[in-house]
Amino acid sequence: MKESIKKPVLAVGPFHPLQEEMEFFQLTVDGEIVTDIDVRISYNHRGIEKISETLQFDQVPYLVSRICGICSASHPLAYVQAVEEIAGITPPERALYVRTIINELERIHSHMLWVGLAGHFIGYDTVFMWAWKYREPVLDLLEEITGNRNNYGNVKIGGCREDVPNEIIGKMLKELDALEKKTDMLTKAVLDDPVLHARLKGVGILSYEDAVKYAVTGPTARGSGVAIDVRRDDPYAAYADLDWNVITQPEGDVFAKAVVRLLEVFESIKIIRQAAKKLPDGPIAVEVKEIPAGEAVGHTEAPRGETFHYVRSDGGNRPVRHKVRAPSFVNVPSFKASCIGEEIPDVTITLAAVDPCYSCTERLAVIDENNKIVHDYETLLKLSREKTAKMKKEML
C-alpha cells in the first residue's frame, strides 16, 4: 500500500519574500531530495493578447512594453518587426542603430539585475548590492535618451520615437568604460570565488538534450551549450553590421548561466561602442499609412531569450490576433528537467527563489574613536580580496 502514503509536498509561493512575479511551486520531496515539481501560474495573467485586439496598431507597442518591465525594449521591437513585415516597411538606417543601442543597454541592466538577484538568493548580498549599484548609470542613460528609466516605449512602427542625441554619445561611452571596469572586477570576483564555486557548480544541470527538448532559449540555452541567438541567426536592427560573439558554456549548471550573462555584458558594451561609432545621420522614422491584411512573425533576442510575436491583420486598424511568446514561457518548464533529483536548497536557487536577508557592505566604513576613517572602500575591498584568496587556498 505504498502508493497510498501521501508524499510530503513543499509549497513555494505564491508570494515570495522578494520581488518578481508570483508563481506557485509545489515540490514533492523525499527527505531532502525533490522528486517532482509542479508549477501553477495565472497570478500574473492580465489577458494582454485580448487587450491587444482592442487597441490600434500604433498603440500596441506601449501595451507590450508593459508585458515585462525588464524586457520592455524587446517586446515592442518584436511586435513592430512583425507589423513592418506585414506592411513591407523598412525603417531608416539610423532608427535601426538606435534600436540596437536601446536593446543592448537593456540587456546590460537586465543581466546586472539577474547577477545581483542570483547573489541575493544564495545569501551573497555583496554581489547583489554591487551589481545593482552598477546598473544605475545605465538606467540614468536610458532615462536621458527615452524619458523613462524602464518602459521606454521607444520603438514605433516605421522607426523610433526618440533619437539618441549626438551629445549623449560621449557621455554614454564614458559610462560604459566605467561599467566595463566594474563588471570586469565583478566577473573576476565571481569566477574566482570558492564559495560561489561550491554553491553553484554542478547545481541544477540542464543537459544539452533537455535544452533542445524543452526548446529553451537565451542564456538558459547558451549555458547548456546550445548556440542559438536571434541576433546572429536572424539579424534584425543593426546587428548584421556589427561584430560580436555568441557566448556559450557547455556545463548547463547555474554557474554556467551566470558566466554566460556576465560575459554577455562585455559583448553588449562592444556592440554599443560600435553602434555609437557607426551611427548614421538621417531621420529616425518613416511615415506609416495603412497596415494591409496579412500575417507575420517577429522575433528578437531579449535578455532572457527569444521573444516571439505573431501578428495577423485583416486590413483594419487593429490586429485580429496577436500572439506573444515570452522567453520564460519555455524556460520555466525546463525546471522539470533541471530540478528533479536536486536537494531543496539547491532547487531554490535553480528556481531563483529566495533566502530573505539584506545587508549593505558598500557604504561601510569602520570608524575609530577619533572619527578617523580606518578602513575605507578601497582598503576594505583589498581586505576582502585577501580573505577570498586565503579561503580559496584552504578549500583547494
Binding site: P14, F15, P17, L18, Q19, E20, E21, M22, S42, Y43, N44, H45, R46, G47, I48, K50, I51, T54, Y62, L63, R66, I67, C68, G69, I70, S72, L113, G116, F128, M129, W132, K133, E136, R149, N150, N151, V354, P356, Y358, C360, E362, R363
Partner: protein, 143 residues
C-alpha cells in the same frame, strides 16, 4: 496620537505584494534598497512575512487569481498598517483596464476587506525610486 500610530511611523517594515505587475514597479521598489537610494538607513526594510510588516507595498493590476490572495495577505498583516499602492496599474489598472482577467483596482479590493484601511497612492509607470520614497514620507507624515 496613539502609541500604535506613533510606532507605525517609525522605521516601517514593509511587505511587498505583487498582484499582477509587469515587474518594473517591483524592481524600482527593490532599487530603493540598493546603494544609490538605500532606505535601509532609515530602518525601512523588506520583510518576508506580512505578519512582521507595518506596511504593504502593492503593485500590479490585481488579477482574478491574485486578489483572493491579496485579501488574505491584508487580513494577515498586523494592524494598524498602511497600504501603499504603487504604480499606475495598482492605482487604477492603467493600460490593462479592459482585460478579462483583471479584478482590480487594488484599493477596491482592500476596501472590501476593511473599509477604513489607510491607503496611500504612488502613481507612475513605474514611479521612480525617488517618487516612491517621497510618497512614503508624505503618507507617513500625514497620518
Amino acid at each position: 496620537m496613539s502609541w500604535k500610530i506613533w510606532s507605525l511611523k517609525k522605521s516601517p517594515w514593509v511587505f511587498h505584494v505583487n498582484v499582477g505587475a509587469c515587474n518594473n514597479c517591483d524592481i524600482e521598489i527593490v532599487n530603493c534598497l540598493t546603494p544609490k537610494f538605500d532606505i535601509e538607513r532609515f530602518g525601512m526594510k523588506l520583510v518576508g512575512s506580512p505578519r512582521h510588516a507595518d506596511a504593504l507595498l502593492v503593485t500590479g493590476v490585481g488579477t482574478r487569481q491574485a486578489v483572493v490572495r491579496l485579501r488574505e495577505v491584508y487580513r494577515q498583516t498586523s494592524k494598524p498598517c498602511v497600504v501603499f499602492i504603487i504604480g499606475a496599474c495598482a492605482c487604477g489598472t492603467g493600460i490593462f483596464h479592459n482585460g478579462y482577467h483583471v479584478a482590480g483596482p487594488v484599493d477596491k479590493v482592500i476596501k472590501e476587506v476593511d473599509p477604513n484601511a489607510i491607503i496611500a497612492y504612488v502613481p507612475g509607470c513605474p514611479p521612480k525610486p525617488e517618487a516612491i520614497i517621497s510618497g512614503v514620507v508624505k503618507a507617513l507624515s500625514a497620518i
